[in-house]
């Protein structure tokens, strides 16, 4: 009996090469699938970022820009720009006050909603989550109307005799900042709660049961079990919140229009005004500011990831 042909040495080799060419073809397709996404990200994100850096060293009208003199002139200007410094302070005020309050409330809500004995869980979850369904412009306008001088908040406070005269919430720097923080908490707490709830649901209930049997208090259980297990999620919500706060735009434009007298303006809003605001068109300067925002986002995210690194 002779072996079938394909089992012969030569035959096996040809099977191998044809298999190799199939593999190579598959590999080529693997790369081909990545082309559209890669090209679009390079053209629509990386290339504009490089362009923004180049533009930030220039001055003049958008279609006929020249090098600034000295080339870093736009950057030195930032340091003397009172409005940009105000915008930066506002952003950090929101970061320091609004972000922690929001994340603590989100964690608290997630903890409460994760209790297996709680009733009407679905309804409560839907209601806590509901503000996420409204667009940023919509909720900004709703809060603008609620806190208008002739708005509902003032009439409620007046009828409760807490105030005797209408408060000009959005016309005073301090209260306007408060309204923005209040509105941000309304819009984003439920959003962050969803992350924590998803994280909590991944923790095996038996871990908690075991902690209970060992006599650990709820407080201790939270800090010793929940927080370490949720660390990646917590770090992620921090990064997202920092990122979002540094880029605040819709609220500043629609809730207070940056006012009164630029007291509540955010960096993105100011950059927009400097570039696309009526009759301004300082694209070089605006690009320099936007690059500063980019660096801030990167630095803060890096710090956050360092802090949240789970490897010891």
């Amino acid at each position: 009996m002779s072996y079938p042909r394909c089992m012969s040495f030569g035959g096996r080799e040809s099977v191998k090469t044809s298999r190799n060419s199939v593999k190579a073809k598959q590999r080529r397709w693997g790369w081909a699938f990545l082309i559209p996404a890669t090209v679009m990200i390079i053209v629509m994100s990386f290339y504009p970022m490089v362009q923004a850096l180049i533009t930030s060293f220039k001055k003049g009208p958008i279609l006929n820009m020249q090098m600034a003199d000295p080339w870093y002139n736009n950057y030195t200007r930032i340091l003397q720009d009172k409005i940009f410094i105000t915008a930066m302070k506002n952003t950090f005020l929101y970061l320091i006050i609004q972000v922690p309050i929001m994340l603590i409330l989100a964690m608290l809500l997630a903890q409460i909603l994760n209790n297996k004995d709680l009733k009407f869980k679905g309804i409560f979850r839907t209601m806590v989550f509901l503000p996420c369904a409204t667009s940023l412009v919509s909720y900004a306008l709703i809060f603008k109307s609620l806190f208008a001088t002739q708005g509902l908040i003032n009439s409620v406070l007046r009828s409760l005799h807490i105030i005797s005269e209408n408060i000009n919430w959005l016309g005073t720097a301090g209260t306007a900042k408060f309204v923005i923080i209040f509105a941000l908490i309304w819009r984003w707490t439920g959003y962050n709660m969803v992350f924590y709830l998803a994280g909590l649901q991944n923790i095996d209930y038996q871990v908690y049961e075991a902690a209970k049997i060992d006599g650990a208090s709820a407080w201790k259980t939270f800090w010793r079990i929940t927080v370490p297990l949720l660390k990646p999620v917590i770090v992620m919500t921090f990064i997202m919140s920092i990122n979002g706060t540094l880029q605040l735009f819709d609220e500043s434009v629609n809730l207070t229009n940056g006012g009164p007298a630029n007291a509540t303006i955010t960096m993105s809003h100011y950059i927009y005004n400097m570039s696309f605001g009526q009759g301004v068109g300082k694209f070089g300067y605006a690009s320099a500011m936007s690059f500063v925002v980019f660096i801030m986002v990167g630095v803060l995210a890096a710090i956050n990831m360092k802090v949240g690194d789970t490897r010891d």
């Binding site: 590999r27 362009q51 309304w186």
Partner: protein, 278 residues
């Protein structure tokens, strides 16, 4: 021992009272502004200012004023067109990439993936000016392409599809190949149907983001006729005197599509938000 669980049950509920109280207060806080928006849309601006929080009879009047003040139907149409086009294209491009990155994974592709993720760090405001120049040079200002092109490939969506592709069994790939299916055929005939829940979550989140976008449309839609719903309602509120009833009617129109998506596809929405963390 047999008695205990029952007593425990009611005592557990009693211990949960602070939780219920907190949840009820928070739910009220969450829902009230939206409830108020809907009632205000049915009241005149004077009634709104007087602090009325029940439904009124001025809905038709507010609606007529809104139609007279702004091109409502045109803007609704624009918003739907942009959001649906962006959703379709973004899902196609990003799922293709997620498929490629996960199921054809090798070291070089992982490096490319890490490189693309860096784009997450780029703030929209930083690329706004060069993108505006780019889009206007391409002659795409005020067009659906001008709206969607910067957003059709996002690191978040690629990551979401890649991570979820881990659930796609490689054995199916092999079986399909033995059956003589091409790699492209596998994507369309095997991958797409199996990954439909990921597509649903990705669609909800992309649609919401596109519908709610404000900064980029404000830059690229220089013509009033190309404006989106968020731009329309922002215009309503930019004057010195604001008709609150009409404004809230506009806000209502801007919110209804996302509200419907939210209530019908809440699970997918939550999955979409948390989609890339797995």
């Amino acid at each position: 021992m047999t008695e205990k669980p029952k007593r425990n049950k009611s005592s557990i509920q009693r211990r949960l009272i602070p939780s219920y109280v907190f949840l009820i207060i928070w739910s009220f806080f969450s829902v009230f502004p939206l409830y108020w928006m809907i009632t205000a849309a049915t009241n005149t601006t004077v009634e709104v200012a007087r602090g009325k929080i029940w439904f009124g009879t001025a809905a038709v009047e507010n609606f007529r004023n809104l139609l007279a003040a702004q091109p409502l139907w045109k803007s609704m149409g624009n918003s739907f067109l942009y959001a649906i086009a962006q959703t379709l294209l973004c899902l196609f491009i990003c799922s293709l990439a997620g498929f490629g990155f996960e199921l054809y994974a090798d070291k070089a592709k992982d490096r490319l993936f890490a490189f693309l993720l860096l784009a997450m760090m780029i703030p929209g405001v930083a690329t706004m000016i060069p993108l505006f120049v780019l889009i206007s040079r391409m002659g795409l200002l005020n067009s659906v392409w001008g709206f969607i092109l910067p957003q059709v490939s996002t690191p978040f969506m690629i990551m979401m599809f890649r991570n979820n592709s881990r659930n796609f069994p490689p054995a199916i790939m092999e079986a399909a190949r033995i059956d003589g299916q091409t790699e492209v055929g596998i994507f369309f005939k095997q991958y797409m149907p199996i990954m439909r829940s990921t597509y649903a979550a990705a669609a909800v989140i992309t649609f919401m983001n596109a519908w709610n976008a404000y900064l980029w449309p404000k830059v690229v839609m220089t013509d009033n006729r190309a404006q989106t719903m968020p731009m329309l309602i922002a215009n309503l509120a930019s004057g010195y005197t604001i008709d609150y009833g009409m404004l809230m009617m506009g806000v209502l129109f801007c919110s209804v599509p996302t509200m419907v998506v939210f209530f019908v596809l809440q699970k997918q929405f939550a999955e979409g938000i948390t989609g890339s963390v797995k």
